[in-house]
């Protein structure tokens, strides 16, 4: 089970040039809005046409500009969950799900599969409701039922949680994750939310300005993003240009510090990143004098901004995030960070 994508398309402002492969399980396209993630999904589904390239799903060619193959969306067997779920407003839940069964001709079979799907997604009793009578979570389940019942070979999810209220989101993440495991096939999800990507996906493809920078297992990517763009997208708040001094030392002129690293420093190093959570009052290594700048509180966490003693004036303040109950009463005079937590970023 695999999806191979290699397409190019001119999008006016920039060029979409996407190349990646996705296996069974959930792969996430992570990138800021407008980077071409949704356009990529649309090209795979056949709603938009790339200028050139090739899309292959389980050995079946969906699109090939050289061989002049361009299957219509109806023949691609690609399920697409839209951001707004795109339920047909003039139809009931039952009719909506039946639309996913339009390829099945036998009536009894249709009815049987409809009932199975309604049961599986806990939609019993809602069959005759119309979409606008349902809650956001129920709408998502109906949209999924309609897609899954059509037995897609590939499932595309476009920002599946963006239409939901915050408190619903977490419950639905777990529900959807379990459902995707049951589905078992290849799933390609698009989001700009790194937490969502981390929650749902086994692998993450980082996208920026129309191309895939890297595709790696989720935990690996967050532990070692490897490039500035990937570090930014995975939520690293403190990034500064750096140069290699020796195998385990880098210099950050902007911050006026030399950092010891656990990882070996390679040649093409261009910057380092330190996640806001990684500063520590008690760390003994990479310990520097700091000066408090300002604080922004959240319900359970707080962000303290500070500057290194020798930091350049034009360099932005450094972020330190921690749980409120661990916040020291007085801002420490020195902060350290473990050498294992220095992210080495390359060109």
């Amino acid at each position: 089970m695999s999806l191979k994508v290699d397409i190019r398309k001119d999008l006016g402002g920039f060029r979409l040039d996407v190349h990646f492969e996705a296996e069974s399980g959930v792969t996430c396209l992570l990138g800021s809005s407008g980077c071409g993630k949704s356009m990529t999904l649309k090209c795979i589904a056949g709603i938009e046409k790339p200028d050139e390239g090739r899309i292959e799903l389980d050995g079946r060619i969906l699109y090939d500009s050289e061989k002049k193959i361009d299957l219509p969306p109806q023949q691609r067997r690609v399920g697409y969950l839209f951001q707004n779920y795109a339920l047909f407003p003039n139809m009931t839940v039952r009719q909506n799900i039946l639309c996913g069964l339009c390829r099945v001709k036998d009536r009894a079979e249709k009815e049987k599969r409809l009932r199975e799907m309604v049961k599986m997604l806990q939609l019993e009793g809602l069959e005759n409701h119309r979409p606008h009578q349902l809650s956001g979570g129920q709408q998502q389940r109906v949209a999924l039922a309609r897609i899954l019942v059509s037995e897609p070979r590939l499932l595309l999810l476009d920002e599946p949680f963006s239409a939901l209220d915050g408190h619903l989101r977490d419950a639905l993440k777990i529900e959807l994750r379990d459902l995707l495991v049951q589905f078992g096939g290849t799933v390609l999800m698009v989001t700009h939310d790194r937490t969502e990507a981390y929650n749902m996906a086994a692998r993450i493809a980082v996208m920026d300005k129309g191309s895939v920078l890297t595709l790696r297992p989720t935990k690996e990517l967050f532990a070692d993003p490897g490039s500035v763009q990937a570090a930014v997208i995975t939520g690293c708040k403190n990034i500064a240009a750096a140069r290699r001094i020796d195998e385990h030392t880098v210099e950050v002129p902007e911050w006026g510090v030399r950092l010891e690293t656990k990882q070996r420093v390679g040649d093409g190093l261009c910057a380092v990143g330190i996640r806001a959570h990684y500063f520590n009052v008690s760390a003994q290594q990479n310990r520097f004098p700091v000066r408090f700048v300002e604080e922004m509180e959240e319900p359970f966490e707080t962000t303290l901004q500070f500057r290194f003693a020798a930091q350049r004036d034009d360099s932005p303040a450094v972020w330190w995030r921690l749980a409120k109950d661990r916040r020291p009463a007085e801002f420490p005079r020195e902060l350290g960070v473990s050498p294992a937590n220095i992210l080495l970023l390359y060109e």
Binding site: A45, I47, Q74, N84, F88, I147
Partner: protein, 224 residues
């Protein structure tokens, strides 16, 4: 006083037939114009909307230029026994041309505000484009299309300028309500003119009431 009901009957059949014609052609052009490249769309849009802004007499003049019995197309059509000048069904042509932009523009507005993801999701589910058009797009654009049809019908029923240019006024043959009103008033039959004005008013009121009722019933159905 015995009343000649011919103008009523003639007006109604002209309005009915031209609304049906305009319904389909308006939707057809609205749907395909939305998919054309921008430059072509702009030109087509102007041409298709022109009859709405031109004085109807000018439209009638153009129709005479094209379909006049001494013009090439008019002569050709005459070979098949079709003559739009001075016949009742010429009124259909005149009313359709004038009412068309109303249907076209309202339908286009409705299609443009249609949520495209509905059509896309239908396609990915395997539904045919025909099914999507009639069962998803049309119901979603129902209000706009209904409004366009009613406007077109009302416009066709009240058409005067192009109609009088193309088919004139012959009692019992080409007379419509609006041409009759003018004719009777011109010949100082004020009571007769007033009678047909009231008939016209009654029809228009009934049509608008019917639309409002349909709308409120639709809203209730959605709420339920």
């Amino acid at each position: 006083m015995s009343i000649d009901w011919y103008p009523l009957w003639n007006s109604l059949r002209i309005a009915a037939v031209s609304s049906v014609l305009v319904f389909f052609t308006g939707i057809f052009f609205a749907y395909y114009a939305a998919r054309l490249p921008r430059a072509v769309k702009g030109v087509l849009d102007v041409v298709l909307t022109l009859p709405m802004v031109l004085p109807p007499t000018v439209c009638g003049y153009f129709l005479l230029l094209i379909f006049g019995v001494k013009r090439p197309l008019g002569i050709l059509l005459l070979q098949f026994g079709v003559q739009f000048v001075m016949t009742w069904y010429g009124g259909i042509l005149a009313a359709s041309v004038v009412a068309f932009p109303l249907m076209y523009r309202t339908a286009r507005g409705a299609f443009e505000s249609f949520d495209k993801t509905l059509a896309y999701s239908g396609q990915t589910l395997g539904l045919s484009n025909t099914y999507i058009f009639w069962r998803i797009r049309m119901p979603a654009c129902r209000q706009g299309i209904l409004a366009g049809t009613v406007l077109a019908f009302a416009r066709a029923l009240g058409e005067y300028g192009a109609t009088s240019m193309l088919i004139g006024y012959t009692p019992g043959r080409t007379a419509t309500i609006s041409t009759t009103v003018y004719q009777l008033w011109r010949t100082n039959d004020e009571r007769g003119a007033m009678f047909w004005v009231l008939v016209n008013l009654a029809i228009s009121t009934v049509v608008l009431l019917a639309v409002n009722m349909l709308e409120s019933r639709h809203k209730k159905a959605v709420k339920r």
